[in-house]
């Protein structure tokens, strides 16, 4: 029987692999149903539970990286023969020096050193040798990306060890590496390869990681060190913009001349970035490509036009077009940064501008307005379309439009960025579930309200800035819930909210989990239980709280959708925690028991606001939210 069962079980498994059902297989062996059925059911359960979906973003990104490596290694062998040149002499010399004088062990040991350690210069020299020895631009770019990652690791490590003064040193090097990576990506060899798109993503990823590492360091730093680190961050963000521009300029040079606006004049970055009053309103000189402001009709018409390609993944073939050299195209004006005018109108101009970049600009405007105590009434965002991976200036197809509503609010309609259209499209797909929702973030002064509407049908975001909360339109678009975050004066919370705004849709998981925790506190969770959860939360291990990538955004949005749909059911959450803690009861069992004991269905907590309010109230009662636990 044992052998027969073993054989029959194996046959049934093969049948299941071919798509047969458990029932049909059991029907074939009626005399063995009793023994066979539990085995097949267990197998199905194992398969069903363990075949969890992969994150599609990771899957695509890893695929891209693999293909880049495959392509580069296929071309490498050909390039390899031609790279023996003059620079190999000093490379060989330096390698020999490193190995002979310092010893191989030293070089290996240096790999984990930090900027204040003796072996750090060896590490840097080794890296330089590696880069020099790496043949082929694509391989070099991949190596640079790895080294950028190493620098961010150093920054994280230095922040962890409170060696804040050294962060700047590591970061300066990171800046240079990002610049070098951008230069490689913009080089003709890469441009003519099929890997350009993937390599551009590496620049974006490197930039995002740098910002995230620095922001994390700022978050941890004492108040006295924050301004310095903030300056470091701002400098790096400028460098990131320059790196992107290096790539964009190269692309601009290859755009067909007829798609460019003739007569455009290039604006130097430094000039465009200065915080001088916008010349549009003051002197009447139009800023190039400025969006027609306060023209609802024109805007409505333009909104109807979609700029997002239906299949946003740029065709690799599009990058294979040979650069057009004659006639030399006039470069598209590239005003970047933001200009704030005297009349409370902040103007942001972006080209090409990723959503993350735009958010940074908006954050700066917000900071500026808050620091000057002069809340502004509108932000004008001008941008250029970026179609098929090339910046193309097209009248009436700008990314951002602004309209003035009758209720005095000004609405910016973000038709969506395109610098990384694939990511954006991916986000939009997820946001479909998130329609008709509104997030409102109120600043401490209660004077500036950001009002983010996500609307599905038009596939666009609307960000409305109002000078006062009272100006919220009486008739808002159909929506189900408002998420409102009122702040106390805590810097940490202020920063977190800024971060939340900065990321627009990117509410971090931490934000949501904070809401959960608040609910748990309100329901009498013991201090120990609470403390253990918060420790896990703050350690950033169990929950990825970094907003260092767009993927996290997507996760956060997913989570939000899930929680919204769930209505923040306290009992379910508590129950789930209990189960995780090892009680091992199913939700149904728990619910049935609760119903039997109380005689009624479990109540639900439908409003996140309550949880968040409780959280804020609780943290406000402790002057330092981050260390409040020990005082409790």
């Amino acid at each position: 029987m044992g052998k027969e069962l073993e054989r029959t079980f194996a046959l049934c498994l093969e049948a299941l692999r071919r798509g047969e059902s458990v029932e049909s297989c059991l029907a074939r062996y009626p005399h063995m149903v009793k023994e066979l059925e539990p085995l097949l059911r267990t197998t199905s359960a194992v398969k069903q539970t363990t075949h969890v979906p992969m994150r599609s973003e990771f899957k695509a990104a890893a695929r891209g990286r693999l293909l880049v490596s495959a392509r580069s290694s296929s071309t490498q062998s050909q390039q390899h023969r031609h790279v023996i040149g003059w620079h190999w002499r000093w490379v060989a010399g330096l390698s020999a020096f490193l190995v002979v004088v310092l010893g191989w062990g030293t070089v290996v040991l240096a790999n984990n050193s930090l900027p204040d350690e003796t072996l750090y210069p060896v590490k840097i020299a080794t890296e330089e040798v590696k880069i020099a020895l790496t043949p082929g631009k694509i391989r070099k770019a991949l190596l640079e990306a790895d080294l950028i990652e190493e620098r961010t690791r150093e920054i994280n490590e230095l922040a962890r060890m409170d060696k804040l003064t050294l962060i700047e040193r590591a970061n300066e090097r990171l800046d240079r590496q990002l610049e070098r990576l951008a230069t490689i990506v913009a080089s003709p060899e890469v441009e003519s390869s099929q890997s350009q798109v993937e390599l551009e993503v590496l620049v974006e990823v490197g930039a995002a990681k740098q910002s995230a590492a620095l922001k994390k360091a700022i978050e941890k730093a004492p108040e006295s060190a924050k301004p310095g680190l903030n300056r470091v961050l701002e400098r790096s963000e400028d460098k990131q913009v320059q790196a992107r521009q290096t790539i964009a300029e190269k692309k601009t040079a290859t755009v067909k001349p007829d798609s460019l606006k003739p007569g455009g004049k290039s604006v130097p970055i430094a000039k465009a970035r200065t915080l001088t009053p916008t010349p549009t309103t003051a002197s009447g000189q139009p800023v190039p490509q400025r969006t027609p402001v306060l023209d609802p009709k024109a805007t409505q018409k333009a909104i109807g036009q979609t700029i997002l390609p239906k299949t946003p993944v740029p065709s690799p073939k599009s990058t294979q077009q040979p650069p057009v050299t004659t006639p030399k195209p006039t470069p598209v004006p590239k005003p970047r940064g933001f200009i704030k005018s005297d009349d409370g109108l902040a103007s942001v101009e972006c080209q090409p501008c990723s959503p993350v970049e735009l958010q940074r600009y908006l954050e700066r405007v917000h900071k500026q307005a808050l620091s000057e105590g002069k809340p502004f009434s509108a932000i004008v965002v001008n941008a250029y379309t970026y179609v098929d991976n090339k910046p193309v200036k097209q009248e009436g197809k700008k990314l951002f439009r602004i309209t003035e509503n009758k209720d005095t609010s000004v609405r910016i309609e973000w038709e969506c960025g395109t610098c990384d259209a694939r990511l954006l499209e991916s986000l939009l797909q997820r946001i479909e579930n998130f329609s008709k929702s509104v997030m409102t973030i109120t600043s401490p002064s209660k004077k500036v309200v950001f009002f983010l509407t996500v609307s599905v049908d038009a596939k666009k975001f609307n960000i409305t800035l109002l000078s006062d909360k009272s100006q919220l339109p009486a008739k808002r678009p159909a929506m189900t819930t408002d998420y409102q975050w009122s702040l106390d004066n805590s810097t940490e919370l202020e920063y977190r909210t800024m971060l939340a705004f900065n990321s627009a849709m990117r509410y971090t998981r931490e934000d949501f989990i904070a809401g959960w925790l608040a609910i748990w506190i309100s329901k009498g969770m013991s201090d120990e239980q609470y403390a253990s959860r918060l420790t896990v939360l703050k350690s950033g291990k169990a929950y990825s709280v970094n907003v260092d990538s767009f993927n996290k955004t997507i996760l956060a949005v997913d989570l939000m959708v899930a929680l919204k749909a769930e209505g923040f059911n306290l009992e379910k959450l508590t129950m789930l925690i209990k189960m995780i803690e090892g009680k091992n009861v199913s939700w149904k069992q728990f619910k049935d028991t609760a119903k039997r004991m109380t005689g009624k269905e479990l109540p639900t907590l439908n409003n996140i606001d309550k949880g968040v309010e409780l959280w804020i109230k609780w943290t406000a009662s402790h002057n330092q939210p981050s260390s409040g636990l020990t005082q409790r």
Binding site: E6, L39, L66, L67, S74, K541, A562, I580, N584
Partner: protein, 226 residues
């Protein structure tokens, strides 16, 4: 292998884990070698498979795209079940393919299908991962799974069930556990599993039966006690 590592591995893979590597490294360079423990069973290779791998050896991106698309999910599921941490699983999955790309030159058709070779790389990387001291800093369980549009309670329950299944899986003997992981989590065929494990297909059939029977009993006991 030092005592500390042995102890840690035992805690990860069960006390009866006997550190019998399925594949060995030829040297410190990490070049992969065919298993020393040959099953003697040859799997028929289809012409497209052979062609695909030979194109992959030429570093043709299309071939790698096809191999990646075909195997990435099963590799990911296999690793995730072992490391129980989404981020680590993603990282290792990517490493598997990168390593495969770099070592494809050493791959030869000796009766082993490509997928078996790929899973040996996966196995080795998992073992390497647990050897690193940094692996101890990882949370034991971190399901940062992408939430779908389905009912959040269902999603949460799925995660919990997953944890329960994997916890019980840890109680099986290493051989049984690996059979379940390869056959049902990674969805390999009997023959492919046999190749990865270095066993005969008949032995794998017996192993999978015993494993599922034990697992069923453990889960049933858990249900009663819980």
């Amino acid at each position: 292998m030092n005592t500390g590592v042995r102890h840690y591995m035992a805690s990860q893979f069960g006390t009866s884990y006997h550190f019998k590597p399925i594949i060995r490294y030829t040297s410190n360079t990490g070049e992969l070698q065919m298993p020393f423990e040959k099953s003697g069973h040859r799997v028929e290779q289809t012409v497209p498979d052979v062609e695909l791998v030979s194109r992959a050896k030429q570093r043709e991106a299309d071939a790698w795209a096809e191999l990646y698309d075909t195997h990435v999910e099963r590799v990911y599921h296999y690793i995730l079940a072992r490391v129980k941490n989404t981020m680590v699983a993603e990282d290792l999955t990517e490493q598997v393919f990168m390593k495969a790309l770099n070592s494809i030159g050493s791959f030869t058709w000796q009766g082993d299908p490509f997928v078996a070779w790929l899973f040996r790389i996966s196995h080795n990387l998992i073992v390497d991962f647990y050897r690193k001291p940094s692996s101890r800093e990882q949370p034991l369980v971190d399901w940062d799974l992408p939430l779908s549009d389905s009912d959040p309670v269902e999603v949460a329950e799925t995660k919990i069930t997953l944890e329960i299944v994997l916890k019980e899986l840890d109680k099986l003997s290493p051989g049984q556990r690996q059979a379940v992981e390869l056959r049902f989590i990674a969805d390999l065929s009997i023959e492919e599993t046999a190749q990865v494990m270095g066993k005969r297909p008949g032995a794998v059939r017996a192993l999978q039966h015993k494993a599922i029977e034990s697992l069923r009993r453990l889960l049933a006991m858990r249900g009663k006690n819980g």
